[in-house]
């Protein structure tokens, strides 16, 4: 094999390697989602399991403020009560109301957010409208429950916490990312 041929051979191998690495970058996307799923990180769309016996800590109250936001959606979205008082360990249900003010059918997905961030670790949600996408017909009004519990070992230095939901419109393109939203 002469110099030119052997050079071309090395170049071909390296070009194939380059293309493979370009693909690898994209392969990291499903890989990342799989890792999050397996390790239970970023688990926003699955209900938590309730442990058999949870002792309600009646010795203290936590005020849970309920917040609702919409992002670029012709919807209105609000909780029926703006805050509730709960004991840690107590199972409670609150209602949210959403209304499609436009004259077209729209799918939305709610993404939760907690303050303090730490709350995410202690909040067990058995049922939530945020576990699946909501499809609203023109002018449809829907009341949706969230059933949750704050675990009794939630640190005592927080008297007030906030649970916030933001509705985003989801189009057809969501499937492109292979995201969990469409699967559920």
């Amino acid at each position: 094999m002469n110099q030119i041929q052997s050079n071309a051979l090395v170049m071909r191998k390296l070009l194939v390697f380059t293309v493979v690495m370009f693909g690898f970058g994209f392969a990291l996307v499903p890989f990342y989602e799989k890792i999050c799923e397996v390790t239970g990180l970023n688990n926003l769309l699955q209900a938590d399991a309730l442990e058999a016996s949870v002792e309600v800590d009646t010795g203290r109250w936590v005020t849970v403020q309920l917040d609702a936001n919409i992002r670029n959606l012709p919807w209105t979205f609000k909780p029926l009560e703006s805050s509730v008082r709960v004991h840690p360990g107590e199972l409670i249900q609150v209602m949210y109301e959403v209304r499609n003010t436009s004259d077209r059918e729209i799918s939305g997905q709610a993404i939760p957010s907690y303050s303090p961030q730490l709350l995410g670790k202690y909040l067990k949600k058995l049922e939530c409208f945020c576990f699946s996408k909501q499809v609203l017909k023109p002018n449809e009004i829907r009341q949706m429950p969230v059933q949750f519990m704050i675990e009794p070992d939630f640190p005592g230095d927080y008297g007030t916490v906030t649970i916030s939901y933001t509705f985003f419109e989801i189009g057809n393109s969501v499937a492109d990312t292979g995201s969990d939203v469409e699967k559920s």
Partner: protein, 526 residues
Amino acid sequence: MAAVHDHDIAHAHDHHPTGLMRWLTTTNHKDIGSMYLWFSFLMFLTGGVMALTIRAELFQPGLQIVNPEFFNQLTTMHGLVMVFGAIMPAFVGFANWQIPMMIGAPDMAFARMNNWSFWLLPPAALLLLTSFFVPGGAAAGGWTFYPPLSVQMGMGMDMAIFAIHIMGASSIMGSINIITTILNMRAPGMTLMKMPMFVWTWLITAYLLVLVMPVLAGVVTMLLFDRHFDTNFFNAAGGGDPVMFQHIFWFFGHPEVYIMILPSFGIVSEVIPAFARKPLFGYSSMVYATASIAILSCIVWAHHMFTAGMPVTGQLFFMYGTMLIAVPTGVKVFNWTATMWRGSMTFETPMLFAIGFVFLFTIGGFSGVVCAIVPIDIQVQDTYYVIAHFHYVLVSGSLFGIFAGAYYWLPKWTGHMYDETLGKWHFWLSMVFFNLTFFVQHFLGLAGMPRRIPDYALQFADFNAISSIGAFGFGLSQLVFLAVVLKSIRGGAKAPAKPWEGASSLEWTLPSPAPYHSFETPPVIR
């Protein structure tokens, strides 16, 4: 290393075009090397002017010179220009000039592709720089362009994305060329373990480049799709995840920082033995240390994102992995020191820069180990401590390595000795002003001054003023370097074939200046 070859082959067929066409069409590795070096110097000055504007604004608290939006564009573009425009092309320039001469090859393996790799760079730089003038201005979300900011920005961001695509393609082509040249075109008798350290470090760097540059191309493509084609890779609302961007970006980004330092390791490993008049201590351990650093660099990326949200197990893994890199790096620093130990040292400018490199890079390495410690990193994340850390490894590391190499090989490139007095001035001014600029930033960072903010609290005023004075001094000192280079091109004492007594690699067997075509008959390595 001894070599036998024909000196000064007469080149009757030397009828290359002249003027602009010579440079546009050249396939000669020396011409292309020079163009890379001049391009990177120009970009270095451009990025430097941006840095000085930033420092001018930070000279005093309050907003004086630029508005915050423009300040953000400056910090972003300073990073992009210095990384992709100045440091990386400078090393490719060195590779082009030196690798064929050091391994006894007549030219690079793919001469025409080499020309193309270079000529992709000016359009990319133009895209980056003209993005300042489009509506919305240049990209302003930091050189790491994290979403969601980078998804929301104006068309300046698209231009930066395209510039990165083009520069990435250029780097990949350059790397393919370098790998092929080193693997296939060594002179007979030059086994891999007889190659000069500079060639070894570039071989490993080139492999890192083909490994991670395509991943960068992929992640900026995803960004582009999120911006324009309604995908939701990084858009939380659509089920994507902005943190995933950070993971993929730093999978490229961390090897990238070693891409910017390994060739400097190589240059310093050439310069120190030459001026200590002793062979490099522990050659094979140097090769293995370089390879270990490269491999480890691929599995530590998430230490850039300790505060982004990660399980403790992950933090521990990336913390210990990062600290492990200190071992092969320590081997290298030990070997450089051991090479100097009991050597007959002289302190010409290349040696000064090399010693400055070892000294200051080690400081940067240590602050790197400090940043690797998770609880400390959570404190110093996004503060000036990090700025000080990576400027110690990138300026007094990569850049000082580049200066050491430039002074070391200038006699071979131009045929004239450079002005030693001016060279020494350049070194000492750079050394003093560099430390004045960046040492105090450690204190600023520890005291909590955040990066990428145009204004700051009053208690940071003194250190910032000192840092700004240092920055202007450092910037102006680089004009001395320009003067030295120009002077050496125009004339000066005639350089002998081997101006440095202790130098031993193949390029010193060629006359100075190196003939336009060298080693057309391969030398024989005994």
